[in-house]
Symmetry: C2
Subunit: 694 residues, 2 copies
């Protein structure tokens, strides 16, 4: 295949370096890698393949040996991505109860990277920087560490309803938190805890210009972490939705400009923001409008039955510009110190309307043109489509069928309904393509349904409006699905992911705990052609939702912009040690260590401390080459850092355990990587050396 | 492709269930998946493919659209594994400073599952079960939590030098710990902390029948976590190797039958156990026989230079049966309570010999027949091959070239050396195939070298003994490599993994922190054909070493053997709640919760507590279907469990924060999964309900 570019010159250089015992040994092949080798893709761009009979014979031989048929070979060709060739899309997926986000290349379906959000992760040095670690601090709830999350719905930042590739938001269902990831360095910058509710579900969803990040609720509770027994459910339990104001320039949520809406104690579920025709609105569906309180232990129907009795639940229609105006006009009350627009305010101000929706729905999804809202009732074989024109007209005309127990007006179903399309069993979520189709996951059918939209957008589909076109079986039990940019104003089509929740027999057994199955469907053709072309086991968490962005929209940094960069503040840090600054200074029992790291040594290599010293330790990674990452760990002190090129880190700890502790680089950075180490000597209070045989 | 097996009968059944609002809704498609659908592989076994011109045209069209050439299509065919077809091998890889183990299918190169070992991981419920969590307890060092590890070398258990698929051991370099994984349920069962040293490197390696798990050291220190300043390095710092006795019946290391060997303060590195011809020995290489102590901050050469000055370091040759006899004869002294055979005992008893080895070696690898030890000096372009016959003869004849500073006899280099083979720059590690070849990683060359062995084993290679045959470039900076069963008595050949440490331009940029690159090489043919056929980004850690086992050797459980199984003890637990047992009982402020979990509800659904209650909570997962896993979390209490089919779990906590806390199932288990929840009501000491607007 590729020829080996180790030139005679490089060889002499390396041997000379080895002879001299100097530091640059391993920089050589890397520098060469960057300059001497061309990306493979570039070499081939002009050539068109024509397979010779010999090549066809070779291919057939391999296929027969591996029992592949022609269809398999085509699927392989649609997904296989040779060394050095880059994927076209990046899928950002929640990691479920792993608490993380996963980035996967499409169509190769390779996990490119995990991004730690709610769970400390040592490879990334996330949450392992000693006492008062900023990640660990940001993850505290009511003063206690809560070091995991249940990530459900990632939301890429948008500009005019299209992904802009700048930020990624992710919700933690278990603990009602929101994480903010900066896609320049793929690191979590902020964790926000909802002050009203312990857990949520409907986060994160953004408004079309990312003015707000929407965090919907789920299990009704006493807002503000309150207590009430189940008998007081109707009176004291409530739902909510929070609108977190995003400050794009700072890359942070501005809690001071954020507010919430009190909602009835139905279980609000997923949200989607209106766009284009429906800009200014967002929509949330709900279930358990029965207000069942379970109690199977007392002979009551369990929640699963009690919450599924009624034929209709409530689609929540929220005019967020009106809500924002009410908040700014000071109409919010405070709960647990956080401003909340209470139900009477919402009703009075026309902020909140309901529309009936069949039956325990799970998803509401707005079409690319913003004209239609698609609701999938998981216990109803149809999707129900609402039109924003009808909704606006019904609101204007007060076409109500009544109001709920909390006084919220309920719009007449027939007045707002545009269409219902029968798809099959257990419809959950819907995405869109560029050909006038919608795609809905069918959990119970274990299938993806393709159906045609109506209106102008649907006119591209040859089958006519609101028609089921095709179902492709998936393996098994699909939850969410995701098409390329499939929830934006301009979906790309081409690729669709079935997030199949059960894998059962698809992969080698991995003990009783099995991976999920991300299945790639080729949706590039119209009509009934929509094959599964790849199965990807996900054995690092249980993802719930994902979004797929064109890779060229991402402006990832290859290294930090300057040496001494503080990633938390995204600027050069004046505290970062420079070359020549290194050393250990002491003021009483307070010790400051200034260190630099470069292939392949730390300066200093010995740090002498006394038992009980309070240590502040600063390290600057002096590297500028892409991928020249170092690690830094101190054994038994629970400290591990990832020092990416240019990065500055500070950490603190009390040297409370005497002994001789090696520290070392935890990333294989060079041929002399194992020699990139030093010792921290913590002298015991007694002052004596301890011989080996004691 | 596949047809949808939703029968009319299934549809009626499900609709009836929905109508009744009962629990079994989602069990249906799963049962159907297991019984109604055949594995795809089975359908095709008899058919041989012949590509029609139309199929070739279709393939060519896809290839041209994606700019693939014929070679790419062949590589795709060698690796692509259609839905439902299982991989041939499982690669168990260390996860580096992620602290975990990764299982990857070969040849598809898909990450099947991570296994948590040293770092708590919430998806697996590993380390998130409240107060006194057994994982968190087992990870404490000197009474403090050390919640990450730097996993380096996995070791599959062996019988007669061959993988038996029963257990996997993994070392934590940063904290000198060993993890024991049971491959029936793929869970970590034991963490052992080395009592002599803070950090290590050369773990884990097993003797041919897994009598012992070898944990070699690395950075010399004062044994027993002692303190001494660097000036006392030669006098008080020491290396070590520990032999952990493995009790296969119990599936645990027996610490009471384990012991260590004191070694000079060279940096012992990797180990390999002898086998067949060399059974009873093991070998460790070393570097920094210079005993450099660094100190670049004082103008000394940094460790990387100081530890690389000498032309020769010491291969450690250890007769472990003699060591075991000396330990059993009571010749060990105690350090930090642990028995250690001191250097004079080792020298006197003929347990330890040295052989010179060029220069800062990184790996020592025993050939499948046990006859040869291959040492790769990372700063020497050769591999040096030693013969066990020569070693035994030299020991018998006392062919010494002298002894080191600690009195250890050094065998004459020429007397023990069988061959040296020049391979290229930066040779590190060696593996073997079934065709008489060895494969050595070349870090600085970024290549895998294939070379022929000597002796009977090497006679299969047509090139003659001890010859470099071919080098395949890899991208970039390969560390370890791994061939199928390539470090056992019977390697399989076929597949080889290059664990390339840098990926640079191979994948889409993922911020400044990039994945590693596992490259699959097809080594099925002899001679100079050895192409790279797949690049797998590893963006969840930085793996160091891996082993590849034939999948059919693994006897993984699909579900736990009985309902109420305690995975920690691998037996039915009498405390596991049964159906009908459920409830909450109170004794003063001590509360016992007995719960069952089944699709899709918990029993009970309400748990009423008082602030300050000490809670013991037991859950039995009542499921018996493969993949019917439930989760269980309590928001804000830092609790998340993975309840695999049949599993029993107990956890404890103090209900010290009043409020109303939803608990819910964190695995998407059925269509009514979101309804699988309940409330924990913690009544405040004041006793009052807290209204929403307070």
């Amino acid at each position: 295949m590729k020829t080996n570019p180790t030139t005679h010159h490089a060889r002499r250089l390396v041997l000379a370096a080895v002879a001299a015992g100097v530091a640059c040994v391993a920089a050589t092949p890397h520098a060469e890698a960057q300059t001497g080798r061309r990306r493979r893709g570039a070499d081939q761009e002009a050539k068109a393949v024509e397979l010779t009979p010999e090549q066809v014979a070779q291919l057939t031989k391999v296929a027969n040996a591996r029992k592949l048929n022609a269809e398999d070979l085509v699927a392989a060709a649609k997904t296989y991505t040779p060394s050095g060739r880059h994927d076209e899309y990046v899928l950002f997926s929640s990691g479920g109860q792993s608490g993380q986000v996963f980035a996967i290349g499409v169509p190769s379906m390779r996990l490119l990277r995990s991004i730690s959000v709610f769970t400390p992760e040592s490879w990334q040095g996330y949450g392992f920087s000693g006492d008062a670690d900023p990640v660990q601090e940001s993850l505290k709830i009511m003063g206690r560490p809560v070091l995991w999350g249940d990530t459900h719905h990632p939301a890429l930042s948008e500009t005019k309803g299209d992904y802009d590739g700048q930020f990624l938001f992710i919700g933690d269902k278990a603990n009602a938190r929101l994480g903010v990831i900066d896609l320049r360095d793929w690191e979590t910058k902020q964790i926000v805890k909802n002050p009203l509710t312990i857990s949520d579900h409907g986060a994160a969803f953004v408004t079309p210009d990312t003015d707000y990040v929407i965090e919907g609720g789920q299990y009704a509770t006493v807002l503000g972490y309150g207590y009430a027994p189940p008998e007081e459910y109707k009176k004291l339990y409530r739902g909510m939705v929070t609108l977190w104001k995003f400050d794009r320039a700072k890359g942070r949520i501005d809690e001071s400009q954020s507010f919430a809406l009190e909602l009835p104690p139905y279980w609000q579920d997923l949200a989607d923001a209106g766009k284009v025709a429906s800009d200014g609105f967002f929509f949330i569906n709900s279930f358990n409008s029965e207000m069942a309180t379970g109690g199977v232990e007392h002979g009551n129907p369990p929640f699963e039955a009690g919450a599924s009795k009624r034929d209709m639940d409530y689609l929540h229609i929220i005019d967020w510009r009106k809500a924002e105006a009410a908040f700014k006009a000071g109409k919010a009350e405070k709960i647990n110190g956080f401003p909340v627009l209470m139900l009477p305010t919402l009703v009075e101000g026309g902020v909140l309307h309901f529309a009936p929706e069949p039956k325990s729905p799970h998803g509401v999804d707005v079409t690319p043109d913003g004209k239609y809202m698609v609701v999938a009732g998981k216990l109803d074989p149809h999707v129900t489509v609402y039109s924003i024109d009808r909704i606006k007209r019904a609101i204007a005309d007060k076409k109500y069928s009544g109001s709920d127990d909390y006084g919220v007006p309920v719009l007449d179903f027939d007045a707002v309904k545009e269409a219902q399309v029968e798809l099959g069993l257990g419809p959950l979520h819907t995405q869109f393509d560029d050909k006038g189709y919608a795609y809905t996951s069918l959990f119970l059918d274990s299938a993806v349904a393709r159906w045609s939209l109506g209106g102008e957008t649907g006119a591209k589909a040859p089958e006519g409006p609101w028609k089921l076109v095709h179902k492709t079986p998936v393996q098994y039990n699909i939850g969410h699905l995701c098409a390329a940019e499939g929830d934006t104003v301009s979906p790309d089509g081409n690729h669709l992911i079935s997030m199949s929740k059960w894998s059962v027999d698809r992969f080698l057994p991995t003990g009783p705990l099995l991976p999920q199955n991300f299945q790639l469907l080729d949706i590039g053709e119209s009509g009934t052609t929509m094959p599964v072309v790849y199965d990807l086991p996900i054995g690092v968490g249980e993802p719930h939702y994902c979004q797929m962005i064109k890779a060229d929209k991402l402006g990832s940094w290859k290294v930090y912009p300057e040496i001494g960069w503080n990633p938390h503040h995204q600027r050069l840090d004046p505290s970062a040690p420079k070359k020549g600054d290194e050393g250990v200074t002491r003021n009483g029992n307070k010790v400051l260590v200034k260190m630099t790291a470069v292939r392949s040594h730390f300066v200093p290599e010995h740090v002498e401390l006394n038992e009980g010293d309070e240590v502040t330790w600063r390290i600057t990674a002096m590297e500028t080459a892409q991928d020249a990452t170092h690690g830094f760990c101190i054994g038994a002190y629970n400290i591990n850092l990832s020092l990416e090129p240019g990065e500055f880190t500070e950490f603190r700890f009390v040297a409370d355990r005497p002994g001789t502790y090696p520290f070392y680089c935890t990333e294989f950075c060079s041929a002399l990587h194992l020699e990139m180490m030093g010792y921290m000597h913590v002298k015991p209070r007694s002052g004596a050396s301890k011989p080996a045989s004691e």
